[in-house]
Symmetry: C2
Subunit: 170 residues, 2 copies
C-alpha cells in the first residue's frame, strides 16, 4: 500500500492514475499552493494589527452583505468566541457595522463600512493578481478541472455553502 502501487483495486484505466504516488503529489501540490494562495494578503495584513481571520471575515461580509453572525459562523467553521474576537476589533476600528435585525431583533446583520470595503479591495486585489496569473498560465480547461476537483474535495456542508455563494454572485 505504501510501495507506489495503486492503493485500492481499480479498473484498468485507473491503475496508472490513482497510485499513492499520484495522490501524494496532489496532496503536496495543495500544501505548497495554499501557501502561495495566502502569502500576498498575509503580507499586507502583517503590517496591520490584523491576521488571516480578519481577512476571511471581511471577505465573506463583503460577499454576503447583511449576513448574520450565525451564518458567518457556519461559513467560517469556527466558534463564536473566536469569531467574536475578530468582529469586535473590526467593529471598533470602524471597518464593519453591526445592525440589529428588523424582523428578528436578536440577529445582528453585518456590513462593511467604506473603510472596510477599502481593506477588502486591497486584500482581494492582491489575491486575485496571483489567481489571475495562475488561471491565465494554466488555461480555461485546466481551470475547469481545478474547480471540479476542489468541489469534490469539500465537505458536504462546505460544498453547499460554496454553491449558495456561487449562485448569489450574479
Amino acid at each position: 500500500m505504501a510501495d507506489g502501487r495503486a492503493s485500492s483495486a481499480q479498473s484498468g484505466e485507473n491503475l496508472l492514475f490513482l497510485t499513492d504516488e499520484q495522490l501524494r503529489q496532489g496532496i503536496e501540490a495543495m500544501f505548497f499552493a495554499y501557501r502561495g494562495f495566502t502569502a500576498d494578503p498575509d503580507r499586507i495584513l502583517s503590517d496591520m494589527a490584523y491576521g488571516r481571520a480578519h481577512h476571511r471575515a471581511v471577505h465573506f461580509i463583503n460577499r454576503a452583505p447583511g449576513t448574520t453572525v450565525n451564518n458567518l459562523l457556519n461559513i467560517l467553521g469556527v466558534t463564536k468566541q473566536s469569531l467574536n474576537r475578530v468582529l469586535r476589533t473590526l467593529i471598533e476600528d470602524g471597518l464593519v457595522e453591526s445592525k440589529v435585525g428588523k424582523a428578528d431583533k436578536r440577529e445582528r446583520h453585518l456590513f462593511l463600512t467604506e473603510e472596510g470595503h477599502a481593506l477588502e479591495q486591497k486584500l482581494s486585489d492582491a489575491q486575485r493578481v496571483r489567481m489571475r496569473m495562475a488561471y491565465r498560465e494554466a488555461g480555461p480547461d485546466a481551470v475547469a478541472g481545478f474547480r471540479r476537483v476542489l468541489e469534490a474535495m469539500m465537505d458536504r456542508e462546505m460544498r453547499n455553502a460554496y454553491g449558495r455563494l456561487k449562485d448569489s454572485g450574479t
Copy 2:
C-alpha cells in the same frame, strides 16, 4: 473593478473567463477545499498531543528520509525554533530519529522510526481517501488541470521544492 467586469484588459477570448467573479469563486473554492483537505488528519491528530505541524514534519521526513533540518526548514517555510519544538516532541516520543551527519557532523539527518511510519501511514491514508474520491469524481482531465493551476499558484521556491519531490518519487 469590483462590479463584476473583468478587472484588467483582456483579449476577447478571456473576457468571459477572468472576471473578478470567476476569480473570487476560485478563491472561495480554495478556502473551502483546503478545509476539507486538512479535516481528516486533523481529526486523528486532535486525539493525540499533536497538531498539523507534526503531520507536515512527519510527511516530509517520510517523503525524503535522511533530510536535514535545514532542508526541512526550507520546505516547511517556518522558523527553526518553531520546527524544533515539533521535532523535539517527535524525537522524545520515538517517532523520529535524528542522526548526526557523516560527511558534515553539524547536520542532523532525520528518519522515521517504525512508530513514526505507523503514524504517517495513518494520517496519509486518511488524506488519500478523500483525495482519491475527489480525483475519481472529477476524472483524469480535471486532475491534470487541477495540478496545473496549483503549480502556477505556488511561489517560485515552492514550485522548485515541489518539483524536486515529485521527481524523487519514482
